[in-house]
Symmetry: C2
Subunit: 210 residues, 2 copies
């Protein structure tokens, strides 16, 4: 199936079969597609926390819009972005890049110096907003990969960010939660959206040609 | 090819063949995958401006980080998000949804009333930030679709947003520019990134299992 067929196949699943697990092989594929997502300046300024533990998920579900999905899906992917841009974080990925490409150390110094200078001028809140945006590219890839594998999923923003951050210990990791993706298998009897027509603005409303 | 193979194939193209055009059929597929991207509350709070006109692109290139790509790529997709959430904009897509699903008019009123109430409490700046994030899901789908078709592309944030908004008349459309995607065919001789190894954090750094 093509990407377009996969995207037409998927929908935001509203109820999951609690006993049906996504295989480790398929979960790895979803994470791999997400890992390959491009990000601004190649900084990969977000991480994915894979939560399978049910007790932990019950804690995350408090204040969420879909508490049943949080607990009944096969697992929950928490997209979490850097809380700030620091010289060390910028260097870490560029040091890796020069090493893996067998380039002389410091090859990207003039570029990373500019990045560091630019971010140093911005308030930390803007750093997080910018980093959070990148994680949505990864969310897109995870959604597309799940659909390719005919695994159901639900992207979600309706949750208590502060609670999720605390429960998962994200501040200690320099991260803040952005969005979630529930993955698993739809319980068609309770998933009221499963049979509904997908609705989008038509192409001539969605696009403007110039 | 699978999505993972497509994502490994793609790279942020640094130079394009100015004479090689993406076919209308393939451009439509890229836009269709983007149109199918899910968005928060299904509001589809972004649009894609397809800029093919070279003179217009020369104007957009001023202050951009990749002015040659802006002009030499086959076309430029400008992702632009709603500048604010209004009751009318929220109603427009839900009216469409009830109509296309043959549901009674007002079927989603209790839900959209909550949305309207929530957004009314937020400053307009937060509206745009939230809408802008959704457009990155669409950017992800456009990137993935281009890669499936073996069309090169470059996601870009390095441009003069205010200038782009003005040149494209976005304020009059209630939109603000977010990010760009150049699409076309790599000029391998000038595209220095084409032969470089793709570098990402390894899976055990990128993901945290709980």
């Amino acid at each position: 199936m093509s990407l377009i067929e996969d995207l037409n196949w998927r929908h935001a699943t509203k109820a999951y079969l609690p006993e049906k697990k996504v295989s480790e092989e398929n979960l790895t594929k979803i994470l791999e597609a997400t890992r390959l997502a491009p990000t601004s300046s190649g900084l990969q300024q977000f991480r994915v926390i894979v939560v399978e533990d049910k007790e932990l998920r019950k804690k995350l579900a408090i204040g969420s819009l879909n508490p049943e999905c949080m607990v009944e899906a096969s697992c929950v992917l928490v997209f979490a972005a850097w809380d700030e841009y620091t010289p060390e974080r910028i260097d870490a990925i560029y040091d890796r890049t020069t090493e893996e490409r067998n380039l002389p150390k410091g090859r990207f110094d003039s570029y990373t110096d500019k990045l560091k200078e630019m971010y140093a001028k911005q308030p930390k809140e803007e750093h997080f907003i910018h980093a959070a945006k990148q994680s949505y590219i990864g969310l897109g890839m995870a959604l597309a990969q799940a659909a390719e594998l005919k695994i159901d999923s639900t992207p979600a923003e309706g949750f208590d960010n502060k609670l999720v951050d605390t429960v998962l210990g994200l501040p200690e990791k320099g991260l803040k939660s952005v969005c979630l993706l529930y993955v698993g298998y739809s319980d068609k009897e309770r998933d009221w959206l499963a049979t509904m027509k997908k609705v989008r603005n038509p192409m001539d409303v969605f696009t403007i040609r110039m």
